[in-house]
């Protein structure tokens, strides 16, 4: 209804290129702190925005918490005066065919939200708390958040693009704290799925609890002698150190501006032959699956790194036009990352000594590719036992890391549906420095 009115008006403005996005979200957030449900927060939100380009390519954008009005469109036309002439802003993505992806919408969840069946959600939240506490008597505090969301998205522009989609996202994030005297341990686990029934509440709770138990008493040793030990990256540290770093470094704007270390490295070898990363936005039930991006460009299954060679930059419509390259619908970044497996976890753990690098939140410097951060939770395996560590400085270079991968395990099942992030990625010794 809203979209139709705006669309009719937009189509009358012949002297402008116009793109309108409307996103309607309905969600429940259940927050828990120290084993109690402290917050039950239902929200409804409409986010809409209009992009207007005049004939010289001057762009203006109006974003609104609510429904756009005809006045907003008129204001946006006037605001183009503050924009900059730009020949590449003259046109919008053309009408595209997009593949309809099944499994993006959960009718059960819609009925839960419409009927305000909060009990069902509270039950899940309480299960999460109980499962953690029951896992080990040393787990004393559980904090976290359970979120259920329905989103309806409409995009249209006056070059003929019109896309509508409806999808659901459910997520759980759990932080567990183990306590024993003055010592504590920390466990964090999260999961995102399309369907409520696919959320593995017990699995996530137990994983967070086991991490908190395993890191109980973690300390920073006086001397850190780990630099000559192979390193295992967990799904979360691989995601941050490698996937997020590469994502920033191949961002179209950073490439065009020459800011990134990966500028002019397309089709060059940037990693070992054993690394292949694909982004597949069309995975059935995939958490981040989309048919089209937020500009209405159809998305495609695309290799990011194939056998160590950089195969694409992360381009939106503008940067692809500017660079005269094909566009693959990357306006919203990576969707479902698939990392090719080369081994399995059991074989990889057949080592006398290694370090599991986890809880690492820093990405590489886009310009230098260097990583200089800190892990708040690691484990050192030696002589048949694990020693928990924390506050360890970690320094390396992301390109050096991906050029020195020994093996990549099978995917971690607890990670988002659709993505295939390995349970473990084994890196040669001496590549990542610890102190």
């Amino acid at each position: 209804m809203i979209a139709d009115k705006l669309k009719n008006h937009a189509n009358k403005l012949k002297n402008y290129d116009i793109q309108i996005n409307v996103l309607k979200s309905v969600f429940y957030i259940i927050g828990f702190k120290e084993n109690k449900i402290t917050s039950v927060f239902p929200k409804e939100k409409i986010d809409s925005y209009v992009k207007v380009y005049d004939k010289e390519g001057r762009l203006s954008v109006i974003k609104k918490d609510g429904v756009l009005s005809i006045d907003d469109l008129l204001k946006s036309e006037k605001m183009t005066k503050m924009g900059f002439k730009d020949e590449f802003y003259k046109c919008l993505p053309p009408r595209g065919r997009y593949e309809k992806i099944k499994g993006l919408f959960d009718k059960k969840m819609e009925s839960i939200i419409i009927n305000n069946n909060i009990e069902y959600m509270i039950g899940n939240a309480q299960n999460a708390i109980n499962s953690s506490l029951e896992y080990d008597s040393k787990i004393k505090r559980v904090h976290g958040e359970l979120e259920y969301k329905i989103r309806k998205k409409s995009i249209f522009n006056n070059s003929g693009v019109e896309c509508n989609s409806k999808h659901t996202i459910c997520s759980i994030q759990l932080e567990n704290e183990s306590l024993d005297g003055s010592e504590n341990g920390y466990g964090l686990e999260e999961q995102q799925q399309r369907y409520i029934s696919d959320l593995n509440i017990k699995g996530v709770s137990e994983k967070a609890a086991s991490l908190a138990r395993d890191l109980l008493g973690a300390k920073k040793p006086k001397e850190v002698e780990l630099s000559n030990v192979p390193v295992i990256l967990t799904p979360s540290s691989f995601n941050t150190m490698v996937v997020d770093s590469i994502k920033k470094m191949i961002d179209g704007e950073e490439i065009i501006m020459g800011n990134s270390y990966l500028t002019n490295k397309l089709d060059s070898k940037i990693a070992g032959e054993n690394l292949t990363i694909i982004d597949n936005p069309h995975v059935y039930k995939g958490t981040n699956s989309i048919s089209f991006d937020s500009e209405g460009v159809p998305t495609k299954n695309k290799a990011i790194i194939k056998k160590g060679v950089l195969k694409t930059y992360l381009l939106d419509w503008y940067t692809s036009q500017r660079m005269n390259m094909d566009v693959f619908g990357f306006k919203q970044g990576f969707r479902n990352i698939q990392v090719k497996q080369t081994s399995n976890l059991d074989d990889m753990l057949d080592l006398k000594e290694y370090v599991i690098l986890d809880y690492f939140y820093d990405t590489a410097n886009v310009s230098t590719a260097e990583i200089n951060g800190m892990s708040t939770g690691m484990r050192h395996y030696k002589n048949g036992k694990y020693t928990p560590l924390k506050q360890i400085n970690v320094a390396s270079n992301v390109l050096n890391i991906i050029s020195n991968i020994i093996d990549i395990s099978e995917p971690e099942p607890l990670v988002d549906k659709g993505s295939k992030i390995p349970k473990a990625v084994l890196i040669k010794k001496g590549i990542i420095k610890f102190s």
């Binding site: 609104k64 900059f84 704290e177 708040t376």
Partner: protein, 470 residues
């Protein structure tokens, strides 16, 4: 819209099982201009790309406490009586599913009053073309600073937010607050590529942009680029370190500020406890303050988002922990005087305990005095970001650049690095505090909410600082 009469009607029709209701009408308007260079044109000049945005947000956040003491909340993007009434019922329904009893003080003193800050120069009164030209002139003046600069990105953002808070315990506060900021990121290339970030602005209008000493900003960018282009990676280890103003600012915020937020103390995710109040926790020159009353500051607040008067709060006084920043709930729980530190990102969020302008008080040392007896140490300069991992009570700060200190002199420039620690580990190792305090403006993220704030500090000397590197 007459919010007061709407609230009074809602209060009159309040369901019997609600003992407390609070409504925040929250309206916000922003404009943003982003300028960057996308490659070069035929003459080799930077090809400019610019985008300008307007954002609007309007609606209400509703919170209730039921007779059992449980809270429920919701948010709506409407201001109509019927929608608000429905929102109150929704919040009441939510409250019945909570099993957490909210600490509640029936005698808490809420504010009553209006505070409207009018910008001297309202950005909306400036013709868009003029504003664009002014920003573009400043943008273009960055390139000549150093011929190694290959790209510049400039963000200008202005936000004007008005907040009306009403509750059933007598709060009625109205505040209008404009905030303006400009951020410049310059990337340079020689043997390596690296970038620097500078930000300025505060609570006010376009006058803050015009009054900023642009030459000083350019000089700072030039100095940082000069250091970065010849910089070497640092060897990891324990150093005697001197933090510049921006680094001590971020330390005030990440290391001590978050630890002094009462909601963290409440849920045992702060290293501090209520029992530590009045106890000496470290170096006697260490005094930490959060002051929302600094006029023109980015963190300025007259009333917080629960309708409580925001007050200057001394948190650590000469090494003794004396107070926490609190909201209504935690001031009741800990029996502390309310100091008005509850803020929400926008109408869709609940207010949580936040910092405003957090800073260390100055000491009496000069930089020369701090450096003179250091045989081998580091000078750390310029912020990138920082974070705190609350359950494990560890913080870290990311450093833009710096120099080695050798025999009391600044020597080799160093590349991006970071340092980390625990509050108690750090506070006992601060041994000298500089004379002059300077503020940095920033945006803090907590529980998925972003808030404009500032933090400040003098130069600090810290022994045995754990600095990362190769």
């Amino acid at each position: 819209m007459d919010y007061e009469s709407t609230f009074l009607r809602l209060e009159k029709n309040l369901p019997a099982d609600i003992k407390f209701m609070s409504i925040r009408f929250d309206k916000s308007e922003s404009e943003l201009l982003e300028i960057m260079n996308i490659g070069k044109d035929d003459k080799g000049e930077p090809r400019i790309k610019g985008e300008n945005f307007l954002f609007h947000s309007k609606g209400a956040y509703i919170s209730v406490v039921n007779n059992d003491g449980h809270r429920g909340e919701t948010t709506i993007n409407s201001e109509s009586f019927e929608d608000l009434k429905e929102g109150v019922l929704k919040a009441l329904k939510s409250s019945k599913y909570s099993n957490y009893k909210v600490p509640f003080d029936e005698n808490i003193s809420y504010g009553e009053g209006k505070h409207v800050i009018k910008p001297e120069i309202n950005p909306y009164d400036i013709a868009p073309e003029d504003k664009k030209k002014e920003m573009l002139d400043f943008y273009n003046s960055i390139f000549p600073i150093d011929k190694r600069i290959i790209s510049v990105r400039l963000f200008y953002i202005y936000n004007n937010r008005s907040i009306d808070v009403f509750n059933t315990q007598g709060a009625h506060t109205f505040q209008v607050k404009p905030n303006i900021a400009c951020l410049v990121k310059a990337t340079a290339k020689q043997e390596n590529i690296d970038y620097t970030i500078n930000m300025f602005g505060g609570c006010g209008g376009y006058e803050l942009i015009r009054r900023t000493d642009k030459e000083k900003v350019r000089n700072e960018i030039g100095k940082e680029i000069n250091w970065l282009m010849g910089a070497k990676p640092i060897k990891a280890g324990k150093y005697t370190a001197i933090l510049d103003n921006s680094q001590s600012s971020i330390l005030a915020h990440e290391c001590f500020g978050h630890a002094c937020e009462a909601d963290g103390v409440q849920f045992n995710i702060s290293p501090f406890t209520k029992e530590l109040i009045g106890k000496k926790i470290g170096f006697e020159l260490c005094t930490l303050i959060d002051n929302p009353t600094i006029k023109g500051s980015r963190g300025f607040s007259k009333y917080d988002h629960e309708g409580i008067l925001s007050k200057k709060t001394v948190l650590i006084d000469k090494g003794v922990l004396v107070n926490f920043m609190n909201n209504a709930e935690t001031s009741s729980l800990f029996d502390l005087k309310p100091n008005g530190h509850a803020f929400a990102q926008d109408r869709t969020y609940n207010p949580i305990v936040r910092m405003t302008n957090t800073y260390f008080s100055p000491g009496d040392a000069t930089l020369e005095e701090m450096m003179e007896d250091i045989k081998y140490g580091v000078f750390l300069k310029g912020w990138k970001y920082g974070w705190v991992e609350e359950i494990q009570k560890i913080w870290k700060c990311q450093v833009l650049t710096g120099r080695l200190i050798e025999n009391g002199e600044l020597t080799t420039p160093i590349r991006e690095t970071q340092y980390s620690g625990s509050v108690f580990g750090l506070i006992k190792n601060v041994d000298m505090v500089g004379k002059e305090i300077k503020f940095e403006i920033a945006t803090c993220g907590k529980e998925n909410q972003r808030k404009p704030e500032s933090s400040g500090g003098p130069y600090l000397r810290i022994k045995n600082l754990d600095v990362g590197g190769i």
